[in-house]
């Protein structure tokens, strides 16, 4: 095999580490994309039994966004296995307060499917509540998965000049009192 062919072989079959920023993203929509990369379905050489999946590092899990009332409408079920009161239904915001990576973990756990490969795929998922990732994991990362939703900007992140110079839709009427 020539060195060029060897380089192509490595480039095709190497296990790649991707990074995904979950800030202001819906965890359930992002989990579909992340599951695709974990299984290796983004590669032309994909086969479910080929072990061609990649690693995904998800950062800023604390800053995920859910639509509207979902924070107090979505419920996560857990049963301890013991009878009499072993079942608990936890609201999404309560679970997020206790463990900020749990919602993302549950979302990817569902998106990946109920096969026997799930444990191995979840082992290749690395979740972090903020941007602090250890150097041991970051040195492998070579690719970034693009975000699905646009991050909104807060009004106080704009400078006063930008707010003042932005084109205005209407002007105040005469003798209007500015409060």
């Amino acid at each position: 095999m020539s060195s060029m062919q060897r380089a192509k072989q490595w480039a095709t079959f190497a296990r790649i580490w991707h990074i995904y920023d979950a800030k202001w993203q819906n965890p359930f929509d992002s989990s579909k994309t992340i599951a695709k990369y974990l299984k290796g379905q983004h590669k032309p050489i994909y086969h479910p039994l080929s072990d061609c999946g990649d690693h995904v590092v998800v950062i800023n899990c604390r800053d995920i966004a859910l639509p509207g009332p979902e924070w107090y409408q979505r419920v996560f079920f857990h049963h301890t296995g013991y009878p009499k009161g072993g079942a608990t239904w936890t609201l999404a915001w309560e679970l997020h307060e206790k463990n900020p990576t749990k919602i993302m973990e549950r979302a990817v756990h569902r998106a990946v499917g109920g096969t026997l490969l799930r444990k191995g795929l979840m082992a290749r998922l690395h979740l972090f509540p903020d941007e602090h990732v250890s150097e041991d994991l970051l040195r492998h990362v070579t690719s970034q998965i693009p975000q699905l939703r646009v991050q909104p900007r807060r009004l106080d992140s704009y400078s006063e000049e930008e707010v003042r110079d932005f084109p205005k839709v209407f002007d105040y009427p005469a003798d209007h009192v500015i409060r």
Partner: protein, 151 residues
């Protein structure tokens, strides 16, 4: 205290700002007359049959367009009435719902009453977490890209 009313025929196109200052025992309430801060910044849309500025502009405003939505608010986060902004009834309802979405998402923390928690992270329970909204759930007025053009 006698109320003096001055009569004048010409009304200057100026806005007023009420400033309250306390110097020792004396409270000074001053009504400052000044030119509008938006004087040279208003978008000119010529040749339109509709009087409403938002209908003339024909924009699909999202709840994240904070620079546009903040123009319709007072400094304490209240909406300006229709007689001030000049928009039509349906657009006012749409702006009302978009502003409510933006405020709940915590995107305009500086336009809020002094007693409210400005930083979303200081709020209680689910209110401290990020939320986003779907503008297609506003049923009164559809965005201009789809339905209005069909009219």
């Amino acid at each position: 205290m006698a109320q003096h009313k001055t009569l004048c025929t010409a009304r200057p196109a100026l806005v007023k700002q009420i400033v309250c200052a306390e110097e020792g025992n004396v409270t000074v309430i001053q009504g400052r007359v000044m030119p509008s801060p938006r004087e040279n910044r208003v978008v000119q849309t010529g040749g339109s049959t509709c009087a409403c500025p938002l209908c003339q502009l024909h924009l699909d405003i999202k709840h994240t367009d904070v620079l546009i939505l903040s123009q319709f608010l007072r400094s304490d986060g209240c909406l300006l009435p229709r007689r001030v902004s000049g928009v039509c009834r349906l657009q006012q309802r749409r702006v009302q719902q978009l502003v409510a979405m933006a405020q709940k998402a915590g995107l305009m923390p500086n336009l809020a009453p002094s007693s409210s928690k400005r930083d979303p992270r200081r709020r209680f329970g689910y209110k401290k977490f990020n939320k986003y909204y779907d503008e297609s759930t506003i049923r009164d007025v559809q965005p201009f890209s789809s339905a209005m053009s069909a009219r």
